[in-house]
């Protein structure tokens, strides 16, 4: 554990050695999430209800998604830099150290400036919870805490899976973003606004519905217009488990396939 802490320390020292650029990144990172929330307000300028939820209720979904995504992105998101490591062969240097490859990659470039965004996402979530009429019970309090944590793990797994593609397809480019940033956009709104195969694929096939929508319904005590039973929301955070298992399997298979570069 101390060894990983040393990696984090090295990264913190490296990043803060460029003070101005760190400060600019720190502040500018909030904007992405501000815009996400702003979009929800704009939508409610033209409609009073979105997928059966009013503005304050919809903000719980958006806030939970923002909190989970921003935190997951900060902690694991930079794994997408693996394409760079694989393409340049710098991954070799990672593999000759007595530490596991995945935590090393995550900690070696942990984007500390994204802390601001995670904090903002969490604030939006807390404010939305306060503004919405939640009939608080001990189990709802527990769900309010567990659901975003499950979301962080879920998004982390999505980042690892999409990044692992680099082992097979070195120039994977923007492919992964469809699922990571696409997933964030999908989970920002009640899934009842989507329809057809697209909704089924993203919501149930890939599990994004269980990140923010169903837990929010359970918190708000609302029925699902699509027709799933009420207990789904309470179990939704468990979707992080199969996602993590899939991520671990794909990552390991990728490592075995790593072919390095000539030198």
């Amino acid at each position: 554990m101390r060894a990983y802490w040393a990696l984090l320390r090295g990264q913190a020292r490296s990043q803060t050695s460029y003070r101005l650029s760190f400060a600019i990144d720190f502040v500018s990172n909030v904007w992405a999430t501000v815009l996400d929330v702003f979009t929800v307000f704009v939508l409610f300028g033209v409609t009073r209800s979105l997928g059966g939820l009013d503005l304050r209720e919809a903000l719980v979904v958006t806030g939970m998604s923002a909190c989970a995504f921003a935190t997951g992105d900060m902690l694991v998101g930079n794994i997408e830099r693996i394409t760079l490591y694989v393409r340049t062969g710098r991954f070799d240097a990672v593999l000759v150290r007595p530490l596991r490859a995945l935590p090393q990659l995550v900690l070696l470039d942990l984007p500390l400036h994204k802390l601001s965004r995670a904090a903002f996402g969490t604030t939006v979530y807390l404010v939305a919870l306060g503004a919405a009429d939640v009939a608080w019970t001990p189990s709802r309090v527990l769900l309010a805490v567990v659901a975003p944590v499950g979301g962080v793990v879920f998004f982390g797994a999505v980042f690892v899976i999409t990044a692992s593609v680099a082992f097979w397809w070195t120039e994977s480019g923007e492919f992964g973003n469809a699922f990571t940033y696409g997933g964030r956009d999908f989970t920002s709104y009640p899934i009842s606004v989507y329809s057809g195969w697209f909704r089924n694929a993203f919501a149930y096939g890939l599990g994004f519905a269980f990140v923010s929508y169903y837990p929010a319904l359970a918190l708000l005590g609302k029925p699902d217009p699509i027709g799933l039973p009420g207990w789904v929301g309470w179990l939704a955070p468990l979707v992080a488990l199969p996602a993590t298992a899939a991520a671990a399997l794909i990552w390991r298979a990728g490592l075995r396939r790593y072919t390095s570069t000539g030198s």
Partner: protein, 321 residues
């Protein structure tokens, strides 16, 4: 004696895509390493050489657990490199010339400190090893400089130190002197020679600079097209590929050189001729030359570069006499 590095039937295939038409691409399997057997004992210093693309780096990457072999068995320090990668990593040091272990934006000193935590080295041991490297590699003048500002030679000395601070039993060096100036090369070689002299560290290095090998390695492994084509001393390589010691004779006044059995005569000028020793010793030859008005005699050792160049270009070479 203890075998530290053992490999049997080691093979690594890569798939390459070859353009065959406007759009069509064929997948072709290429064996970068094609059935390599190795047995390296504790304390040996082994030079691993071969032309570009012969499979040197690929072998090293398989021995260090970076790449998974397509076939074959490996044991390094008793570990299976890929399966027990992190445990093996504590016991070996690796310098891949182009892949830095240092933190680009931090002073060298801080990289060393971080590595102490990563390898969980007791502070006292770490301090002793660092002090030794500092004096042998002259690190002091740039210890507080961020790595990104170091010259290549300085960085390489930093990399070597970084690879040694956890006291590895085996050191793998991939082109440790590539791109270095003469002074840095000598510093690195001198340091490695000293390290090898202790007999505790096993060293395996790839290089294109044959001076590295001549200064450091008693044993030479030559690899070509993924196969080991020579395993032995430099002398054995010369014997096998027919390189000869040469005796160059200069005279005071013109005189006909005698024919000597076991030596091939080449007349360069009336005052200068050369014998390639094909069986006779230098001593025997000199006895036969005793009556000549000799001004100077020099014995030229065979040049390993010639032998290796012949190996690399694939010119068939005569087998051992």
């Amino acid at each position: 004696m203890m075998t530290v590095i053992a490999a049997h039937g080691l093979r690594k295939e890569f798939t390459v895509r070859v353009k065959v038409g406007w759009l069509r691409r064929d997948r072709r399997t290429v064996a970068a390493v094609d059935g390599v057997d190795l047995a390296i004992e504790r304390g040996e210093m082994v030079g691993y050489i071969g032309p570009n693309g012969a499979g040197k780096s690929t072998t090293l990457k398989m021995l260090t657990g970076v790449l998974t072999p397509t076939a074959g068995q490996i044991s390094v320090c008793g570990f299976s490199p890929v399966r027990q990668r992190t445990r093996l990593a504590r016991r070996i040091g690796v310098v891949f010339g182009q892949r830095s272990q240092l933190w680009w934006d931090l002073p060298l000193r801080e990289s060393f400190d971080l590595l102490r935590h990563i390898y969980r080295v007791p502070p006292a041991e770490h301090a002793v090893r660092l002090r030794r490297c500092r004096s042998l590699l002259d690190l002091d003048e740039f210890l507080d400089t961020p790595v990104r500002q170091l010259s290549l030679g300085q960085r390489m000395r930093g990399e070597l130190t970084a690879a040694l601070l956890h006291g590895p039993e085996v050191l793998f060096l991939d082109e440790p002197t590539i791109g270095l100036d003469v002074v840095s090369k000598q510093a690195v070689r001198g340091f490695l020679a000293e390290l090898g002299a202790t007999g505790d560290v096993t060293l395996m290095l790839t290089t294109h600079d044959l001076a590295d090998i001549e200064k450091l390695c008693r044993r030479l492994l030559v690899i070509d097209h993924g196969r080991v084509v020579h395993d032995g001393t430099i002398e054995a390589l010369h014997a096998r590929y027919g390189s000869r010691r040469r005796v160059v004779v200069e005279l005071e006044s013109p005189e006909a050189p005698p024919e000597v059995p076991g030596a091939t005569l080449t007349v360069v000028s009336p005052l200068r001729f050369e014998y390639d020793l094909t069986g006779a010793t230098a001593g025997e030859l000199l006895v036969r030359l005793a009556g000549l008005p000799i001004r100077d005699v020099s014995i030229v050792e065979p040049d390993i570069e010639d032998v290796v160049a012949r190996l690399y270009t694939g010119v068939p070479v005569t087998d051992a006499p």
